[in-house]
């Protein structure tokens, strides 16, 4: 079997004297969709922040393509699309300006694709409207447009469907499936019932040590 994209071993994380997870080990292979489940406060977001390299508040080993994450950081960041709790959209900028800036941070993104990506998330005609005039769902759609632009193999998505309508969710599910079919990998959390084929789940509720 091909080498895992992301390999997590014996991950331990504690927050405010509460153990969120202990001895958590899993692998993410190309072509996989992994859903992190758990109640509110079970540490889903914390886990995704650790996986993305944002948080160093953990013990254990994370390897990217067989190399420790710390050493492979440059390659890892170029291969990662992270959709965080906050959508990462500037309210005073227009959707197009927001995506232009994202493209500047990720040189492999084709700037000409921005208009197309915006129309695919249903924001055609809103290119020049400052994001604070958009609805909450549209706001998040600006950030989701990155999914159409990015060529990164690993997607880490934290609650990508919050405030998105049903049709939008169905489209994003399809997008996630396509990404996996192309050989990408997706790690996500969501409270939506996902009906994706081949979905793998990790539940954090029973991972906590004796608290």
């Amino acid at each position: 079997m091909a080498e895992a994209l992301l390999k997590v071993e014996k991950l331990f994380c504690e927050r405010d004297d509460r153990i969120l997870f202990d001895g958590l080990s899993f692998e993410v292979h190309a072509g996989e969709v992994l859903q992190i489940e758990g109640q509110n406060g079970s540490g889903k977001t914390t886990l995704l922040r650790i996986l993305s390299g944002l948080s160093r508040n953990f013990e254990g080993d994370i390897a990217w393509r067989g190399e420790p994450l710390d050493e492979a950081m440059q390659d890892f960041r170029a291969s990662l699309l992270y959709f965080g709790h906050q959508p990462g959209v500037k309210a005073t900028l227009t959707p197009e300006e927001n995506l232009n800036w994202y493209a500047a941070l990720h040189p492999d993104i084709d700037v000409d694709g921005i208009a197309d990506a915006l129309s695919r998330v249903g924001l055609a005609g809103y290119e020049d409207v400052p994001c604070h005039n958009l609805s909450a769902g549209q706001h998040r759609r600006v950030s989701l447009a990155r999914l159409y632009l990015s060529r990164a193999p690993l997607w880490i998505l934290d609650e990508p469907f919050t405030a998105i309508d049903k049709k939008g969710v169905a489209e994003k599910e399809q997008l996630i499936l396509n990404h996996a079919a192309r050989g990408g990998a997706v790690v996500l959390t969501t409270h939506h019932e996902l009906t994706l084929a081949g979905l793998r789940r990790i539940n954090l509720d029973d991972r906590a040590g004796t608290s």
């Binding site: 992270y82 900028l93 941070l105």
Partner: protein, 238 residues
């Protein structure tokens, strides 16, 4: 695919100056769209010069003696006042996370942010300084010293202040802590800055003071972005 891989370093090198430019463009645009926030430090700067003679003494000789230090202290505090918000909005809406996760060097993004901050506060303060000098009866011989010392000194204030802002961005009320962290580092800039103005007023050579301010700026330009980037990673990690 293999063609893409071989082309990659070349395109990256071509795009690298682009990161700084794109970030600077974005930051200036953001500052421009939020321009009401930018008036605050300038109004503060002007208020000090207006209220001080009313509160202490309107005597021209007395004010002229205080003017170099007073303008510099006002500029320093005005800069400090604007520091707290430097990374806060980015931290709250998640754009800071995106910058940290980018494969592009964070120091360029950070340097662009500080440059934009200086263009929107330090530069206007420098340009306004002669007006304050005039209001405080600073002799006209002192004006070039005032402008030059502020031109060299305010970017250093922005750079140092950004370290404090980066360290405290994760805290809900970081404003007071920034002052404590940053003020000791501001003192040398203040001493040599107001020293330059004093020297200009009394007709002594300026070069020594300006050289020292320039040296501090050079040191800050090289080292501060590294410290700011590291501090941001720590703040976001927490």
């Amino acid at each position: 695919m293999s063609e893409m891989a071989t082309n990659k370093p070349a395109t990256q090198d071509r795009r690298r100056p682009g990161t700084f430019r794109a970030a600077l463009k974005r930051d200036l645009l953001l500052a421009f769209r939020n321009r009401r926030d930018l008036v605050n430090p300038l109004v503060f700067f002007l208020m000090v010069a207006t209220l001080f003679p009313l509160g202490v003494s309107p005597e021209p000789t007395f004010l002229a003696e205080l003017a170099p230090g007073l303008v510099w202290v006002a500029a320093l505090l005005a800069t400090l006042l604007s520091m707290d918000s430097l990374f806060r909005a980015d931290y709250e809406d998640g754009t800071l996370e995106q910058a940290l996760l980018s494969p592009q060097p964070l120091i360029l993004v950070v340097l662009a942010r500080v440059t934009a901050h200086w263009v929107m506060t330090g530069l206007p303060l420098t340009l306004m300084a002669p007006l304050l000098g005039l209001m405080l009866f600073l002799p006209s011989e002192g004006m070039p010293g005032l402008m030059l010392s502020l031109l060299l000194g305010t970017p250093t204030l922005s750079l140092i202040g950004a370290i404090g802002a980066a360290l405290t961005v994760g805290l809900r009320k970081g404003g007071m802590l920034i002052s404590l962290l940053v003020l000791p580092l501001y003192i040398p800039v203040l001493i040599f800055g107001s020293g330059a103005v004093q020297a200009a007023v009394t007709g002594l050579p300026l070069a020594g003071y300006l050289a020292l301010l320039g040296a501090m700026l050079a040191l800050g330009l090289v080292l501060a972005p590294l410290a700011i980037a590291a501090a941001l990673r720590i703040s976001v990690s927490g």
